[in-house]
Amino acid sequence: MTRTLLDREWSGGTAGDVPAIVEQVADVVAAAGMPAERVLRVELAVEEAAVNVCKHGYDNELGWLRVRVWRDNGEITVELSDRAAEFDPLSQDPPDLTSDLNHRAVGGMGIHLIRSVCDRVEYAREGHHNILSMVFEIAPSA
């Protein structure tokens, strides 16, 4: 059974609003029974995804963003939809994690972190929306 935990839209804000979005998602995910250390990983994925929307989609503004969180049995899905130009974050090349300090790029880590902490992540372009769905198991699988 699917149960909606959060469904909210933001618009006209700035990248400075991202922590408030992260906090709201964290609150509902924690209330759903996810252990605290796992909630922090959800927060990381949501922050990286929302910052990414601001950077790539809205020229560092927040633009329009809808955040939905739902629970389906033992899984939580966090879905971010935006109305920016088409951008598939999952198509980006993985960061170089092998070069030395001098040659290491300082950015480009956000998508890699999202992929690392989510149990599943999917991107879809639907109409004028970019939709990123990040799925987390509430408890670690045995």
């Binding site: 990248a15 400075g16 991202v18 922590p19 992260v22 250390e37 922090l40 990983r41 927060e43 990381l44 922050e47 990286e48 910052v51 960061p95 994690l97 092998t98 030395d100 300090l101 001098n102 290491r104 300082v106 950015g107 880590m109 956000g110 890699h112 972190l113 690392s116 902490v117």
Partner: protein, 110 residues
């Protein structure tokens, strides 16, 4: 987030407490920049009381470490645990910046 700096035998220890995220990373960046510009040769970023770290904070640590190395200095991280340590590891930081378990280890390393 709180950022406090103290000098331990010439090593500048920067303690970050709370959440180092997209909103608070600029504050650490300012502190590190000021230390580097004032000629600090050894910086330790102490993360024992850090609860949360995202790529914005990792970017500041990495950029500061690069600047330190370019000027013949060194930046070290210590005290990271749980999600904070995991974020550093996922980002490949321990391979290029010393990440020590405790402040004492970092001071020896620095």
């Amino acid at each position: 987030m709180n950022v406090t700096t103290r000098d331990i035998d010439g090593t500048m220890v920067v303690r970050v407490q709370g959440r180092l995220d997209t909103a608070t990373a600029p504050s650490l960046e300012t502190t590190c920049s000021e230390l580097i510009e004032s000629g600090a040769k050894r910086i330790v970023v102490e993360m024992a009381q850090l609860e949360y770290l995202s790529s914005a904070g990792i970017r500041v640590v990495l950029a500061s470490a690069k600047r330190m190395q370019a000027g013949g200095g060194r930046l070290t991280v210590c005290g990271a645990e749980g999600m904070v340590l995991e974020a550093l590891q996922l980002s490949g930081i321990p391979e290029i910046i010393p990440v020590c378990p405790t402040l004492d280890d970092a001071l020896d390393e620095a």
